[in-house]
């Protein structure tokens, strides 16, 4: 009935997560702006409804409910941490709406109402480890992370994977730190010690958020060079690096599905328009932003295909929808609501950008359920054929409430 289509933006603009999420809010506003310039969707203008869940998880649920019932949004783009997604999940299911989640996460989820445009573990962690094994001949591994679900799960997957590749238990060191850990002296020294055992060593970092800057500063100061012990991180991107002096960090790595430095026409155009939109010629771009770009475009396509914003129709239309990604391929929404993505490994450069040193040949399809985990290796998500997010291929049954 309305002459606009409302789009919910559910990203923290204050509190601890504002640091990462504010950019994503801007991204969606930018995308909506661009789309409206093209005439909107189904002949209607798009209108953003921005709320601030303030890094407070119950508030996420409250705001999600508000967006859906009060503001009647057609779709919501939002969340960064997994816990915020978990918090809003029941709301989306209950009210049958759509959430696009743009951040890499631990997997183990495939929900009808959620579309995961960030990387699943097999689209980030595993390729990174493969690269280090092949290219850097790494034999010894430090898995360092913040003590919570994402790092623990990722490390569990990696540990299983490494062992399957013949790495001995002794050659794996696992280390967890509290959120916001800022004194890295001991751990960096331990890494140094672990790495001087004569075998090539690398650090796989799932350290989250605030703790990264002091970690890298300590690495730099204690003189751990990428040449000696490279660190590959899964949550350090251009935006995080903008806050650090990267000269001592040159050569450390990150695994993402997008880098700002990748030279493709699409990417260059995107960066230019984004910087113009934000009126900041230095404003960087990063992976979760690209995820939103893809997700947004897929949603637009799906809506246009079914000529409706009705959630049920859009949800059914989304799998199979394709949208070009900014680095040159075409991503596709899979039946498990994850997408196919290229995987890049980049080395940090002195200017805070990454130079790509490796790229997977093809796009990697995201696995909702990890093959490395005992409990989930037989599960698949399939919302097209089986209409089930957690289908056990061995028993041929849809588990849990999905039946």
């Amino acid at each position: 009935a309305d002459d606009t289509i409302k789009i919910g933006v559910l990203h923290s603009l204050s509190g601890t997560m504002a640091i990462s999420e504010t950019t994503l809010k801007d991204t969606i506003l930018f995308l909506i702006d661009e789309q409206n310039k093209k005439g909107g969707v189904l002949g209607k203008k798009l209108e953003a409804v921005v709320v601030d869940p303030a890094s407070n998880w119950p508030l996420f649920a409250e705001k999600a409910r508000e967006l859906i019932t009060k503001n009647k949004v057609a779709v919501v783009f939002g969340c960064w941490t997994s816990v915020s997604r978990k918090s809003v999940l029941p709301v989306f299911k209950e009210l049958n709406s759509i959430l696009f989640y743009p951040v890499q996460y631990e997997g183990e989820e495939s929900e009808r109402n959620v579309f995961y445009t960030g990387a699943a573990p097999n689209q980030q962690a595993i390729p990174a480890v493969d690269y280090l094994m092949k290219e850097e001949k790494v034999k010894r591994w430090v898995l360092a992370g913040t003590d919570y679900v994402y790092p623990r799960t990722t490390n569990k997957i990696l540990e299983a994977y490494l062992k399957s590749k013949g790495v001995a238990q002794d050659d794996i060191m696992i280390n967890y730190t509290p959120f916001g850990h800022s004194d890295w002296q001991t751990i960096v020294a331990d890494i140094k010690k672990f790495g001087s055992a004569g075998k090539k060593t690398a650090v796989v970092s799932t350290i989250n958020g605030d703790a990264n800057v002091p970690f890298y500063k300590e690495l730099g100061n204690q003189g751990i060079k990428a040449k000696d012990i490279p660190v590959v991180a899964f949550s350090v991107g251009e935006e995080e690096l903008a806050g650090i002096d990267t000269k001592p960090l040159v050569g450390h790595l990150a695994a993402w599905n997008y880098f700002e430095s990748i030279k493709t026409p699409a990417n260059e155009k995107f960066i230019k328009e984004w910087q113009a939109y934000t009126k900041n010629p230095k404003r960087v771009t990063n992976d979760p932003m690209e995820a939103h770009v893809i997700g947004f475009n897929m949603w637009v396509k799906a809506v246009e295909k079914v000529k409706s914003t009705d959630p049920d129709k859009v949800i059914d239309a989304l799998p199979g929808t394709e949208a070009p990604n900014l680095t040159g391929g075409v991503s596709k929404m899979l039946p498990n609501h994850h997408i196919t993505k290229p995987v890049f490994i980049g080395e940090i450069k002195g200017d805070g950008q990454f130079s790509v040193v490796y790229k997977t040949k093809d796009l990697v399809p995201g696995d909702a359920w990890s093959k490395e985990l005992e409990g989930s290796k037989d599960l698949i998500g399939d919302w097209v054929g089986k209409k089930c997010g957690n289908f056990n291929v061995k028993t041929n049954k849809c588990l849990g409430s999905g039946t």
Partner: protein
């Protein structure tokens, strides 16, 4: 090198290094600095020289202009290592002492047999003691891995490496003791390993103590301003962390100005930022005291409410002004890097922070103890009404005291910007620890804050290796809780009837 494939480039580096070509050194060092250009069209490689001239890598002939299609040959870590190793061999004879030293060290690491002749000839010529030692070590390392080296040589090498006594020596020895070596060498290596491990264990104790001191100094620095506003004035100052944050942002602004206008001054940026941060945070402190806190004396718990509100406002103000993301604050050269003391690494930034903290502490202590203002501050906070009747301008003293506490928090921010994020959340991450330190040490006692900070720092660092960072931190919190049961008024409790009601 024509291909942009790392493996090929790697092989090429190896070939060039052993080719003995006079152009080898310029080419490889150009590669290292990303000055080596490759033109995919003509399949030619050029070297951009440091003076801007361009030469053809194959012939050495000067070229006028790079073709447009030429791009720098990119590097990755593996390549960097090969380049280093190659250069190591090539620069062992460099006229510059430091270059020779680092070359020798990189040979020690790579223990590349091919460099042995160069090492030996360099060793013969070398006069500098440090370089000589490094070369000898490098030579020993090569012998250890040289399959055809004599047993005597190898034993001697083991001894030389053992004398180093460090982690790297341990690594080398562990590595060879696995391989097939003459029995004697294996035995010697094994005993060397044991002895190195023994001494390293002692060093790791020393290292923990140093880390503890350094963590303690950070805690102290963060807490010391609070020891004034909370400990002396009794204001439960939840905005303390934001004062620290303001100090850090002042540093950012100073560095930003220096970077864009006076890059030469970069090394002095902290010296400029410190007094400015004191003034900025101090002035805001005075403003807060004059407009809010002064109405709340005698109602300390309401200060909790107001300062909490303030901290929200300040955080959001900074977020609006500087954006929500981290801002980059660099380390001046004298704050970067580390030096080795025995077997432990001491980073300069931590060392300077420790010194700086102690200086702030001593100055503050002296100020409170020996100056009239210090006396007036204490008198006013103990009995504001009576102090006024003694002719002390209480409102001025209150404002100055709060300003001082805030200013010191600002200075702390300058130091913390060197090791932590500069973001709107910076303050939040220190406020709880700061209160812990002040209370653990005993409210109202600066010495308590000092000892409290170092005790917590050291305890933390001795617990961390045993229990892990998370459990270590939990253990510290539990210990604080238990400790307060033993000493309900902190470590340096004020005792006697003077404190009791």
């Amino acid at each position: 090198m024509a291909n942009d494939d790392f493996s090929d480039t790697d092989d090429a580096v190896g070939e060039i290094a052993v080719s003995g070509n006079p152009l080898a050194f310029p080419i490889i060092s150009a590669l290292q600095d990303e000055r080596l250009m490759f033109d995919a069209e003509s399949k030619k490689v050029y070297v951009k020289q440091t003076d801007g001239r361009i030469i053809d890598a194959a012939t050495g002939a000067a070229v006028d202009k790079l073709p447009d299609t030429a791009a720098a040959v990119s590097l990755n870590n593996r390549l960097r290592r090969s380049v280093d190793a190659a250069l190591g061999g090539l620069t062992l004879l460099s006229p510059d002492v430091n270059t020779r030293l680092s070359a020798a060290k990189s040979v020690f690491k790579s223990h590349d047999e091919a460099t042995l002749p160069t090492v030996e000839s360099a060793l013969a010529k070398e006069t500098n003691r440090a370089v000589k030692q490094a070369l000898a070590d490098a030579r020993a390392a090569i012998f250890l891995f040289k399959s055809d080296a004599s047993e005597v040589d190898k034993l001697e090498a083991v001894a030389t490496v053992k004398a180093r006594g460090d982690q790297e020596a341990l690594a080398l020895l562990t590595e060879i003791s696995g391989g097939d070596q003459p029995a004697n060498v294996t035995k010697a290596a094994a005993s060397a390993i044991v002895s190195i491990q023994g001494s390293l264990a002692i060093w790791s104790g020393v290292q923990n103590a140093w880390y503890g001191l350094s963590l303690g100094s950070v805690l102290l620095l963060a807490a010391i301003g609070l020891a004034i506003t909370f400990g002396v004035m009794g204001v439960i100052n939840m905005a303390h962390g934001e004062m620290v944050m303001l100090g850090a942002y002042t540093t950012f602004v100073v560095q930003e100005v220096i970077r864009t206008r006076y890059p030469a001054l970069f090394d002095y940026s902290l010296l400029i930022a410190a007094p400015l941060a004191f003034l900025v945070a101090g002035a805001i402190g005075v403003l807060i005291e004059r407009t809010i806190i002064r109405f709340l004396y005698g109602r300390p718990l309401e200060t909790l409410l107001a300062t909490w509100g303030l901290s929200l406002i300040l955080q959001q103000a900074v977020r609006s002004a500087f954006g929500p993301t981290n801002r980059e604050v660099g380390n001046p050269s004298w704050m970067s890097g580390a030096f080795e003391l025995g077997q432990i690494t001491i980073t300069y930034n931590r060392l300077w922070i420790l010194c700086f903290t102690m200086a702030v502490f001593v100055i503050l202590l002296a100020m409170l103890r020996y100056t009239a203002l210090g006396l007036e501050m204490r008198a006013v906070t103990q009995n504001r009404r009576m102090a006024a009747s003694m002719g002390i301008a209480t409102s001025r003293v209150d404002a100055l005291t709060f300003g001082l506490g805030s200013g010191i928090a600002g200075i702390a921010g300058v130091a913390l910007s060197q090791i932590d994020n500069v973001s709107p959340n910076l303050g939040q991450s220190y406020i709880i620890d700061s209160f812990m330190v002040v209370v653990f040490g005993g409210v109202g006692n600066l010495w308590g804050t000092l000892v409290g900070a170092f005790t917590l720092g050291i305890a933390n660092k001795f617990l961390e290796p045993v229990a892990g960072a998370v459990l270590g931190k939990i253990a510290i919190l539990v210990l604080i809780i238990l400790f307060i049961q033993k000493r309900p008024r902190g470590l340096f409790a004020l005792k006697g009837r003077a404190v009791e009601a």
